[in-house]
C-alpha cells in the first residue's frame, strides 16, 4: 500500500555538531534552531527526492565548547549513523572534529569557523561553507578603505583588540600585516584571554593610545564587556568600532540590551541576506523561541540546505558519493548572500561572502556590499 511505502521511506541522518553546553552554548542553541528549520522545510517538501523521498533526521552532537569533546562527539555522530556532519562553530573545535571525521572520510561541512588553517590540511572530506579569515579580511579592508576615503580619511591610526585564541590571534596577525599598506598605522594589538574578567586595563591602554579606529575580534561575552567598558570609561574613538567577526556586534541580543554601547558599531561577519524573505521567517522563528537573532541561525539553516542538495546530487548516502557531489556541484546558498556556493580543491566555498553591518538606530543594517545594503554607512561613527 502507498501509505506503507511512505512510512518506510528511508531516512538519512545529518549530524549537527555544535556547542550545546559550555561557554559557547548560546551559539549552539541558535544554530540548532536554524538547522531544524531547514530540516522541517526539506522534509515538508518531500525529503530527498533522488533517494526516494528519504526524510532527513537531525542528530545533534554536543561539542561542549571544547576541542576534545568536539572530536568525541563527531565519533559519536558517525557511530549513530550520520551520513554527513555540518557545524563546528569555533575554529579550534572544528579542527579536531574534522580530523576525527577524516578517519571515516565522513563528509563534514563547516558552518562558520574561520581559521585559515582549517582548509590547509588536504582533508578531502572537509568543506567550508563560510568565508575564511583571509577572504573576510579582504572584504573588510576593501570596505574600510572605501568608507574611510569617503569620509576624507577620518581614520589614520588603528588599535586591534582580540581574544588570544585561534579566532582573535589570527585576525590580529593578518591585520597587522595588511593595514599599513592601506595607509593605516596599527598603534597596538592587545590580546586578552577568554573568558575575560575585566576589560578596564585594555580600555585604559586604548585611552592612552587614542586610536582613530578600533578593530576588535572576540566572542560574545568579551565583546559585550569590552563595549560596555569603553562606554563607561568614555573612550570614543573618532572612527568608532570596526569589528571583524566581532562576536556580539552582529547579535540582536547585544543591540537590544546595550543600545548605547552598540550604536554605530560596524562589523564584518557572517550574516543572512536581508533581502531574502526566508531570512525574515528565520528571524521570526528565532524570536518565537525566545532568542535573539544572530548569524548562527541563518548559516546553519543554509548549510543544512547545502548538505541536503549534496545528498540529492549524490543519489546515495555513501560518504564517497556525497564527497564527490560536494566537490563537483554548485549549490543554492540558502539565506546566505553567497549566490551559488562552489567548493574549490581545498574544500573552501569560493563564493562565500561576509557582510558589512552597522548598528543604526537600534537595528543591525547591512551597509556593504551594495547589492545587499539596507543603509548607508555612518562614518566616522563618532565624528
Amino acid at each position: 500500500a502507498p501509505g506503507l511505502s511512505r512510512a518506510q521511506a528511508p531516512t538519512v541522518k545529518i549530524g549537527l555538531l555544535q556547542p550545546m553546553t559550555g561557554g559557547f552554548a548560546g551559539d549552539g542553541d541558535l544554530a540548532r534552531i536554524g538547522a531544524e528549520y531547514a530540516i522541517k522545510e526539506i522534509n515538508d517538501a518531500g525529503g530527498i527526492k533522488s533517494l526516494g523521498g528519504a526524510k532527513l533526521e537531525l542528530l545533534i552532537g554536543d561539542s561542549r565548547s571544547n576541542a576534545e569533546a568536539g572530536a568525541q562527539a563527531t565519533e559519536q555522530l558517525k557511530a549513530d549513523g550520520a551520513a554527513i556532519v555540518v557545524g563546528g562553530f569555533a575554529s579550534g573545535i572544528s579542527m579536531t572534529a574534522t580530523q576525527a571525521a577524516a578517519r571515516y572520510e565522513l563528509p563534514f561541512i563547516i558552518d562558520c569557523a574561520v581559521s585559515d588553517a582549517l582548509m590547509t590540511r588536504n582533508l578531502k572530506n572537509v568543506f567550508r561553507f563560510n568565508p575564511s579569515f583571509s577572504m573576510a579580511a579582504d572584504v573588510a579592508l576593501k570596505n574600510l578603505v572605501t568608507i574611510n576615503d569617503a569620509s576624507g580619511k577620518a581614520a589614520k591610526t588603528v588599535a586591534i583588540v582580540h581574544e588570544d585564541g585561534l579566532l582573535g590571534s589570527g585576525l590580529a596577525k593578518l591585520m597587522q600585516a595588511r593595514l599599513p599598506a592601506l595607509g593605516f598605522e596599527v598603534v597596538e594589538a592587545i590580546s586578552h584571554p577568554t573568558p575575560a574578567r575585566d576589560m578596564s586595563n585594555v580600555v585604559l591602554r586604548l585611552r592612552s593610545l587614542q586610536p582613530d579606529l578600533i578593530i576588535p575580534s572576540h566572542y560574545f561575552n568579551e565583546f559585550v564587556l569590552f563595549a560596555r567598558t569603553l562606554q563607561q570609561q568614555r573612550v570614543k574613538p573618532k572612527g568608532g568600532i570596526y569589528a571583524l567577526f566581532g562576536g556580539a556586534a552582529s547579535s540582536y541580543r547585544f543591540v537590544k540590551e546595550f543600545p548605547e554601547a552598540a550604536e554605530g558599531v560596524m562589523d564584518v561577519n557572517h550574516w543572512g541576506d536581508p533581502k531574502n524573505p526566508t531570512n525574515d521567517k528565520l528571524m521570526q522563528a528565532v524570536q518565537a523561541a525566545g532568542k535573539f537573532y544572530a548569524y548562527n541561525a541563518p548559516i546553519n539553516y543554509s548549510v543544512v540546505k547545502v548538505a541536503a542538495q549534496a545528498l540529492e546530487f549524490a543519489k546515495s548516502a555513501e560518504s564517497g558519493a556525497i564527497i564527490e557531489a560536494l566537490q563537483k556541484n554548485e549549490f543554492d546558498s540558502g539565506v546566505m548572500p553567497y549566490g551559488k556556493s562552489k567548493f574549490d580543491a581545498t574544500g573552501q566555498n569560493v563564493n562565500a561572502l561576509p557582510l558589512n553591518t552597522q548598528v543604526q538606530g537600534g537595528q543591525i543594517k547591512v551597509i556593504y556590499p551594495d547589492q545587499f545594503a539596507q543603509a548607508k554607512p555612518k562614518f566616522p561613527a563618532n565624528g
Partner: protein
C-alpha cells in the same frame, strides 16, 4: 596473594579489550576505549606521586602538555620520527617534573600547597604556549596525517588501541614493582609520615624527586600518545586544567595508591560520561548533572575509591562468613 590475583585480573581485562577490539568494535567504542586508555595512563602517572606518595598534584597537565608539545614540535617543525619524538617528549616531561619537584620539594611544599603550585606551573605553561610562536601560539599545531607504524598513526585504529593497552599494562607492571620495592615502601612511608620516614633513614627529597620524575614521565607519555591520536594540540588542550583534573579524578575515584585504581577509575568515569550522555532528554546539561550526582554518590559510598569499596565488600563478606 590477592595482589597477584588483581594483577592477573587486570591483565586479563586488558587482554579481553584487546581481543574484542581486534574482533571488531564500532568506531565510537574504539574511540572511547582509546580515550580510556590514555586517561588511565595519565592517571597511572598521577597515582605514582599522588596515590603512593600522597603528593596530590593539580597540575599534571604540565607534564601531559610538555610531552604532547615536544613530540608535535619535533615531528612538524623538525621532521623527526614520531617514536623518537615520543621518547623526547617523555624525557622532557620528566625534566619538567624534576624541575617543578626540585623547586617545590626544596621549599618543603606538601598538601594543598603542593597541589596549588603544580596548578600554577601548568597555568604558566599554558599561557606561554598560547603566546609563543614555536608552539603555534593560539592556533595550536597539527600533526600531519601519515599512516604507518613509523609515524605512530594507524588508519586502522585498533593497532593504536593495542599499543595503548600495551603501555597501560606496562604501567600496571611498574606499579606492581613499586608496591614491592624499597622505593615504593619509602614512598608510601613518606606519604604516611615524612618525619618518621626521615628518622628511619629515608632521603625524602630524593624519593620525592624520583617519584615526581617517574610520574611526570608516564603522564608525558600519555600526552605524546594523545597527540598521535588527535593530531592537534593547542594550549588549552595540552596544558588546560581538564587533564589535570581528569588524571586526579580517575585515580581517586578508582582508588588512589592502588595498582588498579587508575584503570578502574578511567574506565568508570569515561564509561559513565558516555552513559549519562543519553540522559539529557533534550535539555543541555542534564546529562552532566546526572554525572555529577553519580560522582558524589561514589564519593559517599566508596570513600576509598572503587577499588577500596570492592575490597571492603570482600572483607565484610569474609568476616561475616567467619562469624557465622
Amino acid at each position: 596473594m590477592k595482589k597477584n590475583f588483581e594483577f592477573i585480573a587486570a591483565l586479563a581485562f586488558l587482554g579481553v579489550v584487546g581481543i574484542a577490539a581486534i574482533a571488531g568494535l564500532p568506531g565510537n567504542i574504539l574511540n572511547l576505549l582509546i580515550f580510556m586508555m590514555i586517561i588511565a595512563l595519565t592517571a597511572q602517572g598521577w597515582n605514582v606521586l599522588g596515590g603512593y606518595g600522597g603528593l596530590s598534584s593539580f597540575g599534571h597537565a604540565a607534564f601531559f602538555g610538555t610531552g604532547a608539545y615536544t613530540t608535535t614540535i619535533l615531528q612538524t617543525s623538525f621532521g623527526i620520527n614520531a617514536w623518537v619524538g615520543l621518547v623526547c617528549g617523555v624525557i622532557l616531561g620528566a625534566a619538567v617534573g624534576a624541575m617543578i619537584g626540585f623547586l617545590s620539594f626544596r621549599a618543603g611544599l606538601k598538601g594543598s600547597y603542593f597541589a596549588l603550585i603544580t596548578l600554577a606551573f601548568a597555568e604558566v605553561l599554558r599561557i606561554l604556549a598560547n603566546s609563543w610562536d614555536f608552539t603555534g601560539g593560539a592556533a595550536g599545531m597539527l600533526v600531519s596525517i601519515n599512516n604507518g607504524f613509523a609515524y605512530l598513526q594507524f588508519s586502522d585504529r585498533r593497532w593504536f588501541l593495542l599499543i595503548l593497552i600495551g603501555f597501560v599494562a606496562c604501567g600496571l607492571l611498574l606499579t606492581r614493582w613499586l608496591e614491592r620495592s624499597a622505593f615504593g615502601a619509602y614512598l608510601i612511608a613518606l606519604r604516611e609520615n615524612d618525619q618518621a620516614a626521615q628518622a628511619l633513614g629515608v632521603d625524602i627529597f630524593k624519593i620525592k624527586m624520583q617519584a615526581i620524575t617517574l610520574s611526570a614521565a608516564i603522564t608525558a607519555l600519555a600526552g605524546c600518545l594523545y597527540v598521535q591520536n588527535f593530531l592537534f594540540i593547542d594550549a588549552n588542550v595540552a596544558y588546560g586544567s581538564w587533564i589535570s583534573i581528569e588524571a586526579l579524578f580517575a585515580a581517586i575515584v578508582g582508588g588512589a595508591g592502588t595498582m588498579l585504581g587508575p584503570l578502574i577509575g578511567s574506565v568508570l568515569l569515561l564509561g559513565l560520561g558516555e552513559i549519562t550522555k543519553s540522559f539529557s532528554g533534550g535539555i543541555a546539561g542534564v546529562d552532566l548533572v546526572v554525572f555529577g550526582i553519580i560522582l558524589i554518590l561514589c564519593v559517599a559510598f566508596a570513600p576509598n575509591g572503587i577499588r577500596g569499596f570492592v575490597s571492603d565488600l570482600w572483607y565484610r563478606r569474609k568476616s561475616r562468613g567467619k562469624a557465622m
